[in-house]
């Protein structure tokens, strides 16, 4: 036997294994067929029980997200964490990583579901995120410790994510089985599946737009999700959105960026003196309303309404 091989039955320190019959097992996970017999938890079974006792929302989507998707995931998770909702997602690149990072921005606890063992960090480049998640939240997995991810383990992960959450919000997904897997499981479990709309022309949002076309509730931000959770019908809350309190020129610039004029060149055109527009961009960036995405594009950091 070489030193590399580890017997899966001996978990590393800190990992607890919760049986389906034991009290620490999240009740939501019991529902439906295929509930895992054991759940491996890093970060404390007690903490997991506490986090899943309150409202839980899954923020999921494509692993290859656009800047828009990343910003939406981030601001949605952040908004939910502010309201005391536990954010659940898989441990993966793209939307999932954005969701965890968004909640962690305000130190909101999250639950991440690993597709391999809870101690196997994949993708390894996200180790920093993993460590921050288990500091305040939990990493859980149905796969025994030390086992690398397998094709089937991603399916098991999707089921766990869907079962843990009362509401699943698909932020950005292409129309592909593996982007919509969590949504499929959630629907099978009879949970609410909502989606954030994207541009009709964008292939990255084809899956979410299809969900909306099939009748999924439309979510524009954390407020809409809270309405779904607590059953407040949309349109009852009437808090003025941040953008309506902005100075007129800033609002105009923000709206133009949202309209797709997302580079300084498109915004300023051939003006002899673009000072005002560039100043507005800088101010919006300082306020945290605009971020910079790949290729130097400006990306609105939250939706204009319902956020």
């Amino acid at each position: 036997m070489t030193g590399e091989t580890r017997t899966p039955s001996i978990p590393p320190a800190g990992v607890e294994t919760v049986c389906r019959r034991s009290p620490g097992y999240p009740p939501a996970l019991q529902e439906g067929p295929g509930a895992p017999r054991t759940l491996h938890v890093l970060g404390g079974a007690e903490r997991l029980a506490r986090l899943t006792a309150g409202p839980v929302v899954a923020v999921v989507g494509s692993e290859r997200a656009t800047d828009y998707g990343m910003e939406m995931a981030r601001s949605l998770a952040r908004g939910l964490a502010v309201s005391g909702v536990t954010v659940v997602s898989g441990f993966a690149n793209g939307i999932a990583a954005g969701a965890h990072a968004g909640a962690l921005e305000i130190d909101g606890p999250t639950v991440t579901v690993m597709s391999g063992g809870v101690d196997v960090v994949a993708p390894a480049s996200r180790r920093g995120l993993y460590e921050r998640v288990i500091e305040s939240g939990c990493a859980v997995s149905v796969t025994p410790c030390g086992i690398k991810q397998r094709p089937w383990s991603a399916i098991a992960r999707a089921r766990t994510v869907a079962a843990l959450a009362a509401v699943t919000v698909v932020v950005e997904a292409e129309e592909r089985p593996w982007d919509l897997r969590v949504a499929d499981f959630a629907r099978a479990l009879g949970r609410t599946v909502a989606a954030i709309p994207g541009r009709v022309t964008s292939p990255a949002s084809r899956g979410t737009n299809a969900l909306l076309a099939q009748g999924a509730p439309l979510v524009r931000g954390a407020q809409d999700t809270l309405d779904l959770l607590y059953g407040v019908s949309p349109g009852q809350h009437d808090t003025p959105s941040l953008s309506s309190r902005l100075r007129a020129d800033l609002r105009a610039t923000l709206e133009r960026v949202g309209d797709g004029a997302d580079t300084p060149g498109k915004l300023t055109g051939a003006d002899e003196d673009p000072g005002e527009t560039l100043l507005a961009l800088a101010e919006l960036e300082l306020m945290g309303l605009l971020g910079r995405g790949d290729g130097g594009r400006y990306v609105p950091r939250q939706g204009l309404a319902g956020g």
Binding site: R126, T263, G265, A270, G275, L278, G293, G296
Partner: protein, 511 residues
């Protein structure tokens, strides 16, 4: 018999005086050269012998010893041939000796006795003037280059016989008619520089470049392949102010030593665009003794690094000293030297390895690829880049757009802005805004209340580091100068903020 002649050798960018001592005494025929001569100088024996015989002189069949003094300076290159030959002729009493003290000789000999031009003529002429040599004898092709130096008589010699005629008090050969200056390194003199008026669309990037040129700021061009990054960079020299005469001589001297300037005064700023396979030694110098790198050749001009992320990381790190100090100090086992390297860095990069980041249909890069790309660019080098110009994929719409400005108009604005800077920084160690240190910034880039508030806010939100704040202030100062404004207003700060490079080109994907 003993004779002495004077010549010069070049070490790095330094010129060293060399006294050639020729001693002829009875003995077995031999021709020995001592005094740290390199291979090309030792080969001179054959050239000198053939040239003397083919010019109709006699080569003494005795023991000839040549000493090149001072003995601790390595002598490099074929430029010593002419002094060697004249020394041999004088020592064998075929040439009067009285003018050897006041004349310096510099040139390579052909076997038929002709005199060939050598690298570094301008540097040698400068040294002659400093050493109070009356006349410099050299090949006619380079006579005009040497004549750029005031207070030095230049005598052209087509062949060895002409040189001996000059040394005997005769007239020099006529100078060749001034020909059209030849182009070099990106265009000079008669050749027209590429013009900004040929750039259609990309208004934002052009504006950013004008700001960069006005303040001497290092800048980064980013954009998808085919959007015109290289095209824009090539037009930077055309909007920089023309070289002043001392600067032109400095530039010509460097390029003459590197063998790239062919006998004319540099008229436009150098533009160096090394390929990304360049080694560290190739970029900063030091591959061998006296070898200068691209940063030195770009002195007073533009260093363009295309595909910045493809350069080797240690090579890019080596740029830090020249970017900071305007000079590069090279220390090797057997030699050390400091060269001037004050240039404007223009770098270009794709937003991601495939170049189409943000375009989902075309971008094939994984998140790992993106992270690696960003890592390569992040760090200390990007810290020294003041502003970033983004180019856009505008397609046919952009090609139909009117050019935003022409080089001539842009240069006028740049010159006006530079004049303001020069006036303000008259008594300081900097000459352009980009070189202002913190002390100068505090004195010359005063902000009004709203501008200060904006910067404070940026800093408290963590968007701007202390260094980033200084960079923003420098760029804001330049923008105010371009607008002809003595005060830096809030809008200038805003524009500077929107032009600032993203830290490490970090996209929102990083978690």
């Amino acid at each position: 018999m003993l004779a002495r002649t004077r010549t010069f050798t070049i070490e790095g960018l330094q010129t060293r005086r060399v006294t050639v001592e020729v001693d002829i005494r009875p003995g077995l025929p031999a021709f020995a050269i001592v005094g740290l001569a390199d291979a090309s100088v030792r080969e001179a024996r054959e050239r000198v012998q053939a040239a003397i015989l083919n010019s109709g002189y006699e080569f003494p069949a005795r023991r000839i010893t040549v000493n090149l003094a001072p003995g601790d300076v390595p002598k490099v290159g074929p430029g010593l041939d002419l002094a060697l030959a004249c020394g041999v002729l004088a020592a064998s009493e075929q040439l009067p000796r009285e003018r050897l003290e006041t004349h310096a000789l510099f040139g390579e000999l052909a076997l038929d006795g002709g005199v060939r031009p050598c690298r570094g003529t301008l540097a040698v002429a400068q040294a002659c003037a400093e050493e109070r040599v009356a006349t410099l004898v050299l090949a006619p092709e380079r006579a005009r280059e040497a004549m750029l130096i005031d207070g030095l008589a230049v005598a052209a010699a087509r062949e060895l016989r002409s040189a001996t005629r000059v040394l005997s008090g005769g007239p020099p050969d006529p100078l060749p008619a001034p020909e059209d200056p030849e182009p070099y390194a990106g265009g000079a003199g008669g050749r027209r520089l590429p013009d900004l008026g040929e750039v259609r669309g990309q208004h934002h990037a052009v504006r950013a470049l004008v700001v960069a040129a006005a303040g001497g700021h290092n800048c980064l061009l980013s954009g998808s392949p085919g959007t015109g990054k290289t095209m824009l960079a090539q037009r930077v020299p055309s909007i920089l102010p023309a070289l002043s005469r001392p600067e032109a001589i400095e530039v010509t001297r460097i390029h003459s030593i590197a063998g790239e300037q062919e006998g004319v005064l540099a008229q436009s700023r150098p533009f160096r665009a090394p390929h990304h396979s360049i080694t560290t030694a190739g970029l900063v110098g030091g591959a061998r003794r006296g070898w200068v790198g691209e940063v030195v050749l770009a002195h007073r001009g533009v260093l363009f690094l295309d595909e910045l992320s493809e350069f080797a990381k240690p090579t890019l790190e080596a740029l830090r000293q020249p970017l900071e100090d305007g000079r590069v100090a090279i220390v090797r086992a057997k030699h050390s030297a400091a060269y001037p390297a004050r240039f404007m860095l223009v770098a270009a990069t794709n937003p991601c390895p495939c170049g189409y980041a943000g375009d989902r249909e075309r971008c094939r890069c994984s998140e790992t690829d993106m992270a690696r790309h960003r890592r390569k660019l992040s760090g200390p080098l990007l810290d020294r880049i003041d502003l970033q110009a983004k180019l856009e994929n505008t397609g046919s719409e952009g090609l139909a757009a009117e050019p935003w400005t022409s080089s001539e108009r842009a240069r006028e604005r740049v010159m006006a802005a530079r004049e303001r800077q020069a006036r303000r920084l008259r008594d300081e160690c900097a000459s352009v805004n980009a070189h202002m240190d913190v002390r100068l910034l505090e004195r010359h880039a005063r902000l009004d209340e709203s501008g200060q508030r904006m910067l404070r806010e940026a800093q408290s939100r963590g968007t701007l580091s202390a260094r980033g704040q200084h960079r923003t202030l420098r760029v804001a100062r330049t923008i105010a100068d371009l607008n002809g404004c003595e005060r830096v207003r809030m809008r200038d700060v805003g524009v500077a903020l929107s032009l600032r490079p993203e830290t490490g080109l970090r996209g929102s994907r990083a978690a």
